[in-house]
Symmetry: C2
Subunit: 224 residues, 2 copies
């Protein structure tokens, strides 16, 4: 990563950490399972039919763990961090953050020709209508997938417009989302995507993603 890249990232609120990638791997191996444990707890708290004493006891034990973790903690949110090798990690991200139990977390695979996909499973914590995924959770998955798709090749983007068409209810369980770049026009990248379940496509989306102001000089992103 060049000094110029580092300065650009820092200017956008990305946080530089002067640590080798092996240390990032080691932290990932430590925090990933903790995130998964919290995801299982979130699910159990929704589904439990335990008696009142067990609930009260669970609550005080959770509070004790939280207090211990908070003895040393950052002042604010996790943000996006990067090192000199160009590795970036956003473990607090609401869609992909491995330390964030709100996130499934999605693992997005970038293929050839601007195609991206993610296979994921949504359980009780993502419910809207009975047994179905909340429409807003599907929007979260699509917004993130499409944003990353638009940014393929290192060109940063922010969501401009997102349109979602809900074709049928999406059942909780294993799902797949796919996105691709439709075209690029000046500052704008047009992305299309969909989510499918066992019964086929459930949501279709298209979005316009825009090169942010801070990155325009770097990427020749002037209007055509």
């Amino acid at each position: 990563m060049t000094e110029r890249d580092m300065t650009a990232l820092g200017g956008n609120g990305f946080h530089f950490e002067d640590i080798p990638s092996e240390d990032v791997d080691r932290m990932e191996a430590l925090y990933g399972p903790l995130g998964d444990s919290v995801r299982a707890l979130v699910d159990a708290v929704i589904r439990t039919e335990a008696d009142a004493d067990t609930i009260q006891q669970a609550r005080s034990e959770i509070d004790a763990v939280t207090a211990r973790l908070r003895e040393r903690q950052s002042d604010g949110p996790f943000g996006i961090r990067f090192n000199r090798a160009g590795r970036a990690w956003s473990w607090g991200n609401a869609a992909v953050g491995l330390r964030n139990a709100v996130a499934p977390p999605l693992v997005i695979v970038h293929g050839q020709d601007g195609l991206s996909h993610t296979d994921f499973e949504l359980g009780a914590a993502y419910e809207g209508p009975p047994g179905k995924v909340h429409g807003g959770v599907l929007a979260l998955v699509l917004d993130h997938l499409m944003g990353e798709t638009a940014s393929t090749g290192g060109r940063p983007t922010a969501t401009g417009t997102l349109t979602l068409r809900y074709r049928q209810a999406t059942p909780l369980g294993p799902l797949r989302a796919e996105g691709r770049i439709d075209r690029v026009e000046g500052l704008k990248t047009f992305v299309v995507a969909h989510i499918s379940g066992p019964e086929g496509v459930t949501v279709e989306a298209d979005g316009v993603f825009i090169l942010p102001r801070w990155a325009r000089d770097e990427h020749d992103g002037r209007p055509t």
Copy 2:
């Protein structure tokens, strides 16, 4: 609630529970604080800088609590439950579920003339860009608010189309979302909404919400 209403709800996967509303209140008072405790834990797991031993220990304690809660649990997601008095509760819902730590949870206020709003605060667990709310989380908030707005007056609806226009980044912290019914045309209810932060409106949305097939006979929802 009439027998006819009860049959219609049951047919859509809503689950009837033959318990008085006072018992629902009692459970709400028991589970609400547990949900809040898990929300605090989710935040702490994102922000902690504790050493590896503390992290491992936290994980095994969380797993023990989860195992105890799972000794008696429902087979599937929470769903939407209702009693004879017409009280309904969806404590597992990804946007408003008080037992679901994925949900902020939103508390939506329905005013006069089809206006709805919600004041809420989003912390580290809802981050996308550094210090900003994830665009997909804003979509989740808007989808839920707008769906509830469309359903004002007891007419059930499902999201058909949702369009989001991101005007500026939304900072983490206190926010407000407002929605209103723009017009109703046959099966379709058109809703507009926006989210605003300290610097004004950040996202605008419009959506088309559709009377579901199972409810059409009940609500005279034939095309105009």
